[in-house]
């Protein structure tokens, strides 16, 4: 019998709060997590907004002995992991730890650490370069810390594919469970706002700034002029369905399909024509049609346009009702946002609450389907599609369902 993949736990650290309840409450009210950026120095940078996570008392989530070896991004993701384990009611001492894995996506996880390290190196020379900082600056340090802390010895991998990094980890986790290499895989990831990263995004022209229109995150809006940078971490528990049922786990939903495709666009360009996005949506919706789509639109000119083309083209061949929303209006945009999107999709399936796309006053595209702009509940939502689409052209879609 082929294995099915359930989601049995959610851990979140987001600009809209810590833990799934706070996240859902603020998200479904349409609260914005975006404000003036704090804690970093912006010299010669024309943007000033960001969606940052609140202060976290990491000591409440991670033992001190482990905490002191971690940098901020590892603390963020491991905190999300500890929240997920608690939420999922998993007793690790009862599990076969060789059949538990972790797969994480991160764009530039430790950019702050690498930058701190590099500045020390430049200023003081190689002898001042601290080994403790270097060893936690590698992208797979997050998974290493997590596996050491919890003793999980199964499949362990890290992916970096810009805004589809976490979706990549989720589908690889899904495939690994289907293959039978693990009973449970913690999938997700995170990214943080750091001075060098904000600098890079700004200089590469990706960020919204005050020009003809004001700085802000306005997906699908005619006045959109770039993304607002966000940060956050999320871990989902992917669990082989019979394993989940045997331990009477709370099941949020099932991952029933995915799509992965790409368009050969410029390194810093989005899939403006939407060919890869369209193909990826088709792949994920082969067997089931979604009632709601969490779009990847992030207020950039080209991504929102490409996604609109793709969704329209796909929807025109369908019947029925599909709604659309884009939570980057509330959370900004970052490489690991796919985890928060997937969590939001599962929470919608569970609670029927749909978060609105805020800041949408003048819709730019003639969509064939309605965009949700005010908080609503819809009892009919059973299947939800998330879209993640990255600069460079990769798109990954995920289809979550209430029932198999």
């Amino acid at each position: 019998m082929s294995k099915e993949v359930a989601i049995t736990g959610i851990g979140i650290l987001s600009p809209l709060g810590i833990g799934k309840d706070q996240f859902l409450e603020n998200l479904s009210k349409g609260e914005s997590g975006i404000s003036i950026v704090k804690g970093i120095e912006l010299i010669n940078i024309s943007s000033k907004l960001a969606a940052q996570i609140p202060e976290v008392n990491f000591k409440s989530y991670i033992p001190l002995a482990s905490l002191r070896r971690m940098d901020r991004i590892s603390k963020m993701v491991v905190t999300a992991l500890s929240l997920a384990i608690k939420d999922g009611g998993i007793s690790l001492d009862k599990e076969n730890l060789e059949k538990i894995g972790i797969m994480v996506g991160t764009g530039l996880g430790s950019s702050y650490t690498v930058d701190t390290y590099f500045r020390l190196l430049l200023k003081e020379g190689p002898l001042a370069a601290p080994p403790m900082l270097f060893q936690t600056s590698v992208p797979n340090a997050i998974c290493s810390h997590a596996s050491i802390l919890y003793g999980i010895k199964g499949i362990n991998a890290t992916f970096s594919q810009k805004e589809t990094s976490v979706e990549m980890a989720i589908i690889q986790g899904y495939l690994a469970i289907k293959k039978g290499v693990a009973d449970i895989i913690f999938v997700g990831g995170g990214d943080e706002i750091s001075e060098p990263l904000y600098h890079i995004y700004s200089k590469l022209g990706l960020l919204s700034k005050n020009d003809t229109y004001p700085e802000g995150s306005r997906p699908y809006d005619e006045t959109r002029n770039g993304m607002v940078m966000g940060e956050g971490a999320c871990i989902l528990i992917l669990e082989e369905a019979s394993h989940a049922k045997k331990r009477k786990a709370n099941i949020y939903g099932y991952l029933e399909g995915f799509g992965i495709a790409s368009s050969p666009v410029d390194i810093l360009g989005y899939d403006k024509k939407g060919d890869g996005i369209y193909h990826s949506i088709n792949m994920a919706t082969k067997n089931k049609s979604p009632d709601l789509i969490y779009g990847s639109a992030n207020s950039s000119l080209d991504l929102d346009e490409g996604e609109a083309h793709a969704i329209n083209k796909w929807f025109n061949k369908r019947n029925g009702q599909v709604k659309l929303t884009a939570i980057s209006s509330l959370l900004g945009s970052f490489d690991a946002i796919g985890g928060l999107k997937a969590a939001a999709a599962l929470l919608t399936i569970k609670t029927k609450k749909i978060p609105p796309t805020i800041n949408l006053t003048k819709q730019d595209f003639s969509f064939s389907l309605p965009i949700v702009t005010t908080p609503i509940e819809d009892k009919n939502i059973k299947n939800v599609l998330t879209i993640g689409s990255a600069t460079g052209g990769t798109t990954i879609t995920l289809l979550f369902s209430a029932d198999l």
Binding site: Y117, F134, S147, L268
Partner: protein
């Protein structure tokens, strides 16, 4: 297959240097090493790419992008694939990355932090992301299928080959460009130096006097293809990927588990995936970094996984020739293993003179070992005990 290393910038020159026991480890000229404890590394000092118009037209490429594009071109050429035979949506890519374009980003921030921001060209930032090489190659070859970039550094590109195998097994692609590319940069060079695991005299895997790694750089690309698809176009099949495994030691952030349990388990799981017994293994291309801890743990792991049979097969490490290429090490070593299986030659373990008594395996030392080798294992182990083993078989057409 295609390869770019310090001992050869194409498959033939790489293999020729490897079996002759040449070493690419020498003085690093890419950046100033005068204040470092060590000065050496396997830096690529020449690279031909005049025949690749794309490279000459794009000034934003990092070293890692360059190496990756050059070896992808060689791999595509050797595979006999021509662009109009593939369906772009069934054409995927799975690469491993280490530091990616960080060398370029370093050059940018160096200027900024030294107060010369007018001299810091924004184009240096283009390759800031670890998936940039993946995206460039996708663009050049019009890849519209799955793209994967694995970021487990020292084991990235072997893991990427594993994920590429699964793309084909799961019917998500017919052809996958798999492997990895990585370049030297100051952050990693100084980092490994700060951890005091760089051998000042050059890497000597499994040797009694070994002190650590030598860093290297380069790229290795393998074209994976679904079997029927390859047959239908009369491709020359070089090897078959039998199976792989990835797992974690959950032991320490940089040190391997000293009892070799992590190494043993990943090889056992890979053999299970490949459906082979230990006695079928004819040779092993080890991770063999030359650090005191890795080489003992790996030797113990090999003995535990293959039992008595471990002593009857030739084992090598090519890191004394090409250095530790981090994000591309696994792919280059997998290519070396394929060439071993095809040519019946295990390359010498350059740098090794007298094996550590705790590493009592049948290493090639100062000359290559000839024989009939059908199935081999390639190992890559990363920081934090992120271990990968890949099992490859020669394909007799």
């Amino acid at each position: 297959m295609g390869v770019v290393t310090a001992i050869g910038d194409d498959l033939n020159s790489f293999w020729d240097s490897l079996i002759k026991g040449k070493s690419g480890i020498g003085d690093i000229t890419l950046f100033d090493t005068s204040s470092y404890r060590t000065k050496n590394g396997a830096q690529i000092k020449k690279l031909k790419y005049d025949d690749i118009p794309y490279i000459n037209n794009d000034k934003n490429l990092s070293r890692a992008d360059l190496f990756g594009i050059v070896s992808a071109k060689e791999a595509i050429k050797n595979s006999g694939l021509i662009e109009d035979v593939w369906n772009p949506f069934r054409f995927g890519i799975s690469l491993g990355a280490g530091s990616g374009g960080i060398y370029s980003v370093e050059q940018y921030f160096k200027k900024i932090y030294q107060g010369e921001k007018e001299k810091a060209p924004i184009s240096l930032l283009t390759g800031y992301s670890l998936c940039t090489t993946t995206d460039y190659i996708s663009k050049i070859y019009n890849i519209m299928g799955p793209r994967i970039t694995a970021a487990t550094v020292c084991s990235s590109s072997l893991a990427a080959i594993g994920f590429g195998i699964d793309l084909i097994r799961n019917d998500l692609a017919d052809i996958v460009i798999a492997g990895g590319s990585d370049s030297l940069c100051e952050v990693t060079y100084s980092g490994f130096n700060a951890l005091r695991i760089v051998d000042p005299k050059g890497c000597k895997p499994f040797d009694k006097t070994r002190e650590g790694i030598s860093l290297g750089e380069g790229a290795g690309i393998i074209i994976l293809e679904e079997y029927e698809h390859a047959l239908s176009r009369n491709a020359t099949i070089v090897a078959e990927m039998l199976g792989y495994a990835i797992c974690a030691e959950a032991y320490h952030l940089t040190a391997p588990s000293p009892d070799g349990e992590g190494a043993k388990r990943v090889m056992e799981l890979a053999m299970k995936d490949a459906k082979i017994n230990p006695s079928s293994v004819d040779t092993i291309n080890t991770h063999g970094t030359g650090t005191p801890l890795n080489d003992i743990a790996e030797s113990i792991g090999i003995k535990k996984a293959l039992k008595e049979h471990a002593h009857h097969i030739p084992v090598c490490s090519i890191k004394g020739s090409i250095g530790h290429c981090l994000g591309s090490a696994g792919a280059i070593e997998a290519i070396s293993l394929i060439l071993t299986l095809v040519n019946g030659i295990v390359p010498p373990t350059v740098g090794l003179k007298e094996p550590d008594p705790k590493c009592d395996l049948n290493f090639t030392i100062d000359k290559p070992k000839h024989g009939d080798f059908k199935i081999g294992i390639s190992n890559s182990f990363a920081f934090g005990g992120n271990n990968v083993s890949l099992i490859i078989s020669r394909f007799d057409n």
